[in-house]
């Protein structure tokens, strides 16, 4: 795994330092090293591998075995800029080599054409800073295909009538259907909708060095012990290591990017495992630290030339934070589904991807999926119908009956970009390294909440059509926590309103690139990682072209 890696000296000026090893960073490291460049990846978390991955709910869900730890890296939260933010956990992300891709659900929806040109298609939305992307679906299509084939996505091409055009089928068939998926499919058909096999970044067939999914049932929030989940750890990182030109340096917490007198980035400054400060020199820097840590790093890197944060002449670094809206309905059925077996999702539908604002009275769209992503303790503490007994025989009876008979319908939808929704540096709270904590300011656009509740009515209709013996819905409210961290260094042609151009190059610093959830201009309809990875493949092509032209060394 970590064999055959070069060990670069921090004083060696490598070609690229890549900050972060998750969905985007892993692919950027792979592509740049395969293209002949010398790459150092700085990852703040540890380098764990399959043998370290466990099904212990307490360590993984309660004690942040794989995720950012709120005691070490606290967050603060407020709804609006005029409030003082309070300490509160606001985000969770994978803090290990492979990042959040190690523990995600692995729903791999492509964005649709509408997601790239929504502003020009639907016009302005009051209270939202909706903008078109500087690229289109067609620009990204070859890279979506690359993700499917090189990283590994299971699915069935052409199964959804709403799918955007594609140049190639999926490289492998969909994962097996779950009982919850069958229930979902039959009920949706009854209602005249178009359910289809979920595209998932989980292997339905083995690939070199990786097992097909063994349906262990510890999937969302857990890292895969057989390499079936197509994380960067199981895929791109290993391909990068194979080149012999890429060093993965874990336990390296980057907190500053420095510029030389000519305004060029000189590398990255980080704390090593012993909390000593190190400086890795590089010809160019690519930040893939996620939609929260990327803007935070730029803000931490403020200097004389950029007093408001590096590459922040636009003032847009950290702004336009989007989550994806969501709502949940739950059903209990007569016979055992045993949906605790397997990955989370086997069937989805996209009939509501583009809703007509004139008809529904709000902007946006979304999709529904049938899932069971709850592990036993989690389910016992939070998965029973509202009002169920919390202990005693009554509790045990409901728990024992429902665990095998429950399915959830999760609604995923648009998050509109709102200028005030942001990540910034908290003026008071510090992390364990003495750096300012991340402060989240977030209040859902009212349309996002309306959309979620509208979709949740469809979810409830579906459960009813499916003949659920019992069903309930959680009304969507304003969100204060997310794992989807999007839009905070948005891409655009205008340096006054965006942070990076369509090459992922910052408008302000020519050899500084950003690529991750922060690059997104719109949120899509709920599943951003596929698009983040396609962008990472495309960004790597653009960066390679610029570097080969010599544009990064002047």
């Amino acid at each position: 795994m970590t064999l055959d890696q070069p060990k670069y000296k921090t004083t060696d000026e490598v070609d690229f330092v890549v900050i972060g090893s998750g969905a985007a960073g892993g692919i950027v490291a792979k592509e740049l090293s395969e293209n002949g460049f010398r790459v150092v990846v700085l990852e703040q978390g540890p380098y764990l591998t399959e043998k370290d991955f466990i099904h212990d709910e307490i360590e993984v869900l309660n004690r942040d075995f794989l995720t950012n730890h709120p005691d070490l890296q606290p967050n603060t939260f407020r709804k609006t800029p005029d409030e003082k933010a309070k300490p509160q956990r606001a985000i969770a992300y994978g803090r290990l080599v492979g990042g959040t891709s190690t523990h995600f659900t692995a729903n791999f929806w492509r964005f649709h054409e509408i997601d790239f040109k929504e502003r020009s298609k639907v016009g302005p939305v009051p209270g939202a800073a909706l903008a078109d992307w500087p690229i289109t679906y067609a620009d990204l299509e070859p890279y979506y295909t690359k993700v499917e084939w090189e990283i590994g996505v299971s699915g069935q091409a052409g199964a959804s009538p709403f799918d955007p055009p594609r140049s190639k089928p999926y490289p492998m068939p969909p994962l097996p259907v779950k009982s919850g998926g069958v229930i979902f499919e039959r009920a949706a058909r009854k209602l005249g909708w178009n359910p289809f096999p979920a595209p998932m970044a989980i292997l339905s067939q083995p690939r070199p060095g990786r097992s097909a999914c063994i349906n262990c049932g510890f999937c969302l929030a857990f890292a895969c012990e057989v390499g079936a989940k197509s994380s960067s750890l199981a895929t791109a990182i290993r391909m990068a290591e194979k080149t012999g030109r890429c060093e993965i340096r874990p336990n390296s917490y980057v907190h500053r990017i420095e510029l030389d007198a000519n305004g060029r980035a000189t590398g990255a400054v980080y704390f090593d495992a012993q909390r000593n400060v190190q400086r890795q020199k590089a010809k160019a820097v690519v930040v893939c630290a996620n939609g929260a840590e990327t803007p935070r790093l730029l803000l931490l890197s403020a200097n004389k030339q950029f007093p408001d944060g590096l590459a922040n002449s636009s003032g847009k670094v950290g702004k336009h934070l989007m989550f994806n809206s969501g709502a949940l309905s739950v059903g209990v059925f007569e016979h055992p589904l045993n949906d605790y077996k397997g990955f989370a999702v086997s069937r989805i539908l996209h009939d509501f991807y583009e809703l007509d604002p004139d008809k529904v009275g709000f902007h946006g769209g979304g999709g529904l999926d049938a899932r069971f992503d709850q592990t036993p303790i989690n389910f016992a503490l939070g998965g029973l119908p509202p009002g169920s007994p919390r202990w005693g025989k009554g509790f045990k009876d409901v728990l024992s009956h429902n665990f095998t008979r429950t399915v959830e319908i999760l609604c995923h939808g648009t998050s509109l970009p709102v200028a005030n929704n942001s990540f910034s540096l908290d003026p008071d709270v510090k992390d364990a390294w003495g750096l300012p904590a991340l402060r989240m300011t977030y209040k859902d656009h009212p349309d996002d909440v309306k959309l979620s509740n509208w979709l949740n009515v469809r979810a409830a209709e579906l459960l009813q059509a499916a003949g659920a013996k019992k069903q309930w819905s959680f009304p969507a409210g304003e969100q204060e926590f997310s794992v989807h961290l999007l839009g905070t260094c948005r891409m655009g042609d205008d340096p006054k309103t965006s942070v990076i151009n369509s090459d992922h190059q910052t408008h302000d610093v020519k050899n500084l690139f950003l690529c991750d959830g922060s690059s997104l201009v719109t949120s899509g309809r709920g599943q951003p990682t596929m698009t983040i990875e396609a962008l990472a493949f495309r960004a790597s092509d653009r960066i390679t072209a610029l570097a080969k032209r010599g544009d990064l060394s002047t």
């Binding site: 360590e59 005249g192 349906n215 036993p376």
Partner: protein, 223 residues
Amino acid sequence: MDSHLSRRGFLSQSLTGISAVWVSTHWPAMLSAATHAREAAKSASPAIFEFFTPEQASEIDAVSSRIIPTTDTPGAHEAGVVFFIDRALITFAKDNQKVYSEGLLELQARAHELFPAVKKFSAATLEQQDQILESLDAQSKADARNPFRPSAGAATFFETLRVHTISGFLIDPDANKRGNRDGAGWKAIGRENEHMFMPPFGYYDKDYPGWQPNPPASDKPKT
């Protein structure tokens, strides 16, 4: 061991070529780690407590047995929940020690207050025990705090014990936390004690004919 053998069998079926190499290099380590954890769990002398006194342990065992009683399926007692909590209190739930030592005193006081003849919780009848716990539960805040990461205003004793009991009942038996002995908790909720499954998974996907496209729009029912 049967379950291990079947895992191995399934893996070799589902893998080909170089991936089989990956498995042969990695899977034995995983199996032996799991086996080791199981053997260690079995060989741990159940009489030894690391935090509780034997008297405290029988009180905790009695309370957790009312939170998840033994019915026609195993309860907290059979799953060895008291051993899980005992281990938790000297490891990941160290910060809860005070909640327990004070809570046990409170439990005894409440038992005595409600039923003056009762000297300790475990000596009360089951009906009395439930009444004592109901009275403690009434004090618990409905909002679920995380007892594994106590902060200002830690959860009450009963709520902490409730969450710990459920956790010790349902934790992965291979997690090396002395909980869910022999998968008793999973058995009670109908989860097979395996980490590898093959479809069909349940009742509704048994006879699934495979995904078919929707009929043309004209044949579809109107929405």
